[in-house]
């Protein structure tokens, strides 16, 4: 009896997942429905199509520009590609978190020699990305439907870069924030490999994540968004360059990856501060979602 309410919620979620795709509520809503993980809405507005998770329609979303699918609608994804410059000769990249498939699209269009392994926990997100966001898996890319941590644990592959984009503004998979998880990710990196993670920087979880990265990696850099609340953490034991040299790296690539202006994005990067009061998150001590709700 004690867990009736939770069991009821799960039952309700399953029922809703089984419901056929809901009809459009208005001209702009292309899809609204539920997977076993999220309430998902797909909306189109002014040439931009967005996949929105949850009911906070302004925060948890992934968008593409229909006319220019490789243009970065959000600052965070552009900054993540600037993070690419810390290991610019990458041949194998693992991306955890598919969303609408913007990042794989940029890899497909502009980094075709890089083998990209995408991992997405929600099979429904994969279906929607294919149907509404022209997401496809070309020959040099692969997609696994799995939990990111479980995938890395089972995988014996080594990657030059691991990108973590499985985080929302109001929920984070806590088991992918811990020191043990980052040690696992590090063990799946080639020598000089990097981890790139997307976060919001106005909450206490951001500080805790930096402290946790610093406990695992020798070098931790951050990109701080100037037109959004997004931040990017880049961590490595032996990065190809320091933040001060990032502009040079960007220039070597012609200053761009597709439509992403690497020169502009590289200016947002700096060495992260040592945060003495921030907790290191572990599998044993992990209040990640409570910290996410606490503003700095």
């Amino acid at each position: 009896m004690r867990s009736c309410s939770m069991a009821g919620l799960i039952f309700l979620a399953c029922l809703m997942a089984a419901t056929p795709a809901a009809a459009a509520a208005n001209d702009q809503t292309l899809y609204e429905g539920d997977s076993i993980y999220h309430h998902i809405t797909i909306r189109e507005d002014g040439g931009e199509r967005c996949m929105i998770f949850g009911r906070q329609r302004d925060l948890r979303q992934t968008c593409i520009d229909l006319a220019k699918p490789d243009a970065s609608v959000f600052e965070y994804s552009a900054m993540m590609f600037a993070g690419f410059l810390f290991r610019p000769d990458a041949k194998k990249v693992c991306l955890i978190g598919l969303g609408g498939g913007y990042i794989p699209t940029v890899f497909r269009m502009h980094l075709p020699k890089v083998r990209l392994q995408t991992v997405e926990v929600d099979p429904h997100v994969d279906k929607l990305a294919r149907k509404y966001f022209t997401f496809a898996v070309p020959a040099n890319q692969a997609l696994a439907i799995d939990d990111g941590r479980q995938f890395l644990k089972k995988s014996r592959e080594r990657y030059d870069q691991i990108w973590l984009d499985a985080f929302n503004s109001d929920y984070i998979p806590a088991h992918m924030t811990t020191k043990e998880f980052l040690q696992l990710a590090k063990s799946r990196l080639n020598d000089g490999g990097i981890v790139i993670q997307n976060l919001f920087c106005d909450n206490k979880l951001y500080d805790a994540q930096i402290a946790t990265f610093q406990a695992v990696f020798a070098k931790v850099f951050v990109f701080e968004g100037q037109r959004s609340g997004s931040c990017i953490i880049v961590a490595s034991d032996r990065p190809a360059c320091e933040p001060a040299e990032l502009r040079k790296q960007a220039e070597k690539r012609g200053g761009k990856i597709g439509r992403i202006d690497l020169l502009a994005e590289s200016g947002k990067c700096r060495v992260s501060l040592i945060l003495k009061n921030a907790p290191i998150l572990t599998d044993d001590f992990n209040p990640a979602n409570l910290l996410l709700m606490q503003k700095k």
Partner: protein, 202 residues
């Protein structure tokens, strides 16, 4: 008799709170090995339901055979010691299970039952055991079956919320689990020390 009722309420609130606290904490124990998906919650809730069911049947049966609080307390001590041991053995258990069972649904279900079957089944015996003891008195008591479930559920309410909203942000999970086991053990010893059976004339 006031001591008897105080013991009953202490047991109901404590173990009602601790089982739900352990249910919340179990997701932190499982997620590093089986992921953080909804499947984990399905395994956690369904496992606890099985443990509750076993505990309800066992508690009802044992209370009829041995309508003494001391017998229940011995079981509760075993359950408490098991809980204290969880932080030392859950990692190898989860590693072993996740290495051998690829399906996270089956894996988490097996791990949940290996770790929690004994203590939760024992702790779920508290309510039916107390109902059984009061029934054995063969006279009216204000502590009806409904009141027993009410008091236990109030304990569960606090156990759930205090754990989810406060304890997880203050302490490592392993320390919370050991702390819960120690509380259960102390309450069990206190119950024996208060000699409620003698008060009841057993």
């Amino acid at each position: 008799m006031p001591i008897v009722y105080a013991v009953f309420i202490l047991l109901l609130v404590t173990f009602g709170a601790v089982v739900m606290s352990l249910e919340i904490l179990s997701s932190n124990l499982m997620s590093p090995y089986f992921g953080g998906s909804i499947y984990i919650w399905g395994s956690i809730i369904s496992s606890f339901m099985v443990h509750f069911s076993v505990g309800y049947v066992a508690g009802g049966y044992l209370s009829r055979r041995f309508p003494r609080i001391s017998v229940l307390t011995v079981f509760l001590m075993i359950g408490s010691l098991w809980v204290i041991g969880i932080p030392t053995f859950y990692k190898p258990v989860c590693e072993l299970v996740s290495d051998r069972i690829a399906d996270v649904r089956l894996g988490s279900l097996v791990a949940m039952n290996l770790i929690f079957f004994i203590p939760i089944s024992i702790m779920a015996m508290v309510s039916p055991y107390i109902i059984g003891i009061t029934a054995s008195w063969r006279r009216q008591s204000w502590l009806t079956a409904g009141m027993v479930l009410f008091v236990s559920t109030v304990g569960s309410f606090f156990g759930t919320n205090v754990t989810a909203f406060y304890l997880i942000s203050l302490f490592p999970v392993s320390r919370i689990v050991v702390g819960l086991g120690l509380i259960c053990l102390c309450v069990s010893f206190l119950t024996l020390a208060l000699r409620a059976d003698r008060e009841m004339g057993k």
